[in-house]
Symmetry: C2
Subunit: 397 residues, 2 copies
Amino acid sequence: MERLNKPLKVKKIVVLGSTGSIGRQTLEVIEMLGPQYKIIALTAGTNDSLLAKQVIKFRPKLAVLSNEEAAGRLSEALNGIGCQVMSGDQGQEIAATLGEADLVVMAQVGFSGFKPLVAALKKGKDVALANKESLVIGGEILNKMGLLDRTRIYPIDSEHSAIWQCLRSGRKEEVDKIYLTASGGPFYGKTRKELSHVTAEEALKHPNWNMGGKITIDSATMMNKGLEIIEAMWLFDLCLDQIEVVVHRQSIVHSMVKYKDGSVIAQLGRPDMHLPIQYALTYPERLESKFENFDPFDLVLDFKKPDRENFPCLDLACRAIKEGGTMPAVMNGANEEAVRSFLTGLIGFNNIAEMIEAIMNKHKPMSDPILQDVVAADRWARREAKVYITAIERRMN
Amino acid sequence: MERLNKPLKVKKIVVLGSTGSIGRQTLEVIEMLGPQYKIIALTAGTNDSLLAKQVIKFRPKLAVLSNEEAAGRLSEALNGIGCQVMSGDQGQEIAATLGEADLVVMAQVGFSGFKPLVAALKKGKDVALANKESLVIGGEILNKMGLLDRTRIYPIDSEHSAIWQCLRSGRKEEVDKIYLTASGGPFYGKTRKELSHVTAEEALKHPNWNMGGKITIDSATMMNKGLEIIEAMWLFDLCLDQIEVVVHRQSIVHSMVKYKDGSVIAQLGRPDMHLPIQYALTYPERLESKFENFDPFDLVLDFKKPDRENFPCLDLACRAIKEGGTMPAVMNGANEEAVRSFLTGLIGFNNIAEMIEAIMNKHKPMSDPILQDVVAADRWARREAKVYITAIERRMN
């Protein structure tokens, strides 16, 4: 328990998905932490103008955009500042496996995080994981490949960061269950009928958290909590029935661990992603933060059972992990397409769950899949999603 | 993190104060835990009939009563069952330092816990401490004597057990502050004027906890929380301004630790002393318990600033530890006498704080006291208390 007196080594960080919500906040934390943390690579999908600004500020040696045209523009914008620019999946994987990286932050959205995660884990990298979809899709495979080394995957999701922190208070085999808290999102308390009228704009107004579009819609449907159940199973080696979802509207208690002796350890804090991001970056240490100013006074916290009837996505996710194999990838792919379609106004809010369920019903999950099977299942689900949406559009016209 | 496969050694336990509330619950926990925990000595003050029953059930080799006559009766009652009976301070100290004891549970009430604690720590014993008064009185001296080895003192107080559990989630130097939760007791929300009418009977009805008489009255005056602040300072090596009291009427969150990164770790559970007792007995392991059945659903938890005006004992305790030396012993001695006088109807509720303050005002604390000075300060405070009470009685007649 003594303060470390040795001079601190500079920690070299790669940030995948740096232009998204978690990526931008990761850069804010790294800036606050000071020169002990050095960014050596940044990657994004298509946003070349923001990535260019980030590169100019943080001076990594490598910058990657998935989109080739955008990468071309980035290359021009960065002309002469000594940063290599790459593009496509290959570029992302190179960034994810840079030899000198001490920690790879995975902050991409959705399926795009999957292959870089596999690559980074194969290379033996320490990974700070914000991309829950990659574990939903590939947890089973990564586990079978022996790549789910839980000492090297640091969760960034606030709930999983909370569990990770609470797990320090006991041994793994002493855990009885965990309580994943859920805000319930902007529509909690509404009936199915009321939900049929809600708009994407309303769904994007999350009561507590300021997050990216995909996760905000997932939070409104409660699919986010479903994905998090699966993520928690793989991250912490738990069974489905060791995980309970608790609706906690205030988003102050970020999750809890119940030990076998009846003691419950909870992690609390303001709903601010800077905290779990910082914890993953500085782990096993806790450093001073300028972002948080938690104060318990005048807090009122409540906890309820989730409404599984009006928010069926929670059970769809549980069904997917129970069926296993390629089913979680299908569920996830269908969800990503459904969310995209809802955001662009193609389908209504209740159609999201309906569409995922319809696609899952059509899928016969393959057990013991390999990497390619999971990728194929994801593609299949997305094709089915397009068929489904076309049918809806036809119905509406 | 691996399950221990070695055969488990029997843990030999001494319970001081076994007929009190914590003592009785300690025996219940030990009974539940099974043959891996063996009681080798039991001690109490005067209750020979209960102690005799406990001895017959748990078969320790030594039983001690402070009161000599009661010890005589115990000796008769236990005739022929092979348990040595002793009496007085000397007997208590022998029990506290038994060579073969693996853990000494200190569950006495008030000052009587002090000398056995010093003796046990001097002998290098592991101590499970429920007696907070001994640290209030002697924390400074024990610290100077190098006897406050924090790896060997296991707190039983629910708040301190909570802090102890939450401290596993970070390093000592990473702690920003701790929040000690307080139920507020049966009278919280009342004004000074309303408090002038409350009776001992009303005070003994604690809303959440089923505890002994002394601590229940301390809880009603909030002196209990003042004593706990001082206890926490010595147990966890904290400054006074690192400790905040939070009124939490539901007694579900037992206390919290705020780390420098802004993360707050809390321990929750039903208000049941069996849990912290068990944790102290089984530490560093957590074993299955049949006592707890925590469930977060439908909980509503709130947190408020304490009312220091109508409950001045909190500030009296803070003043005592700030002035230091012999002052905490004087404050504690005055409080013990005041509580006793309130319970027997000699003084009113508000007189408790008034009396403690008056006695503290008369005392010029000696700095750098030795053991005898602290014992003398305690005696002086009790004599002053009697003078004070006689004056009140005269006023009332």
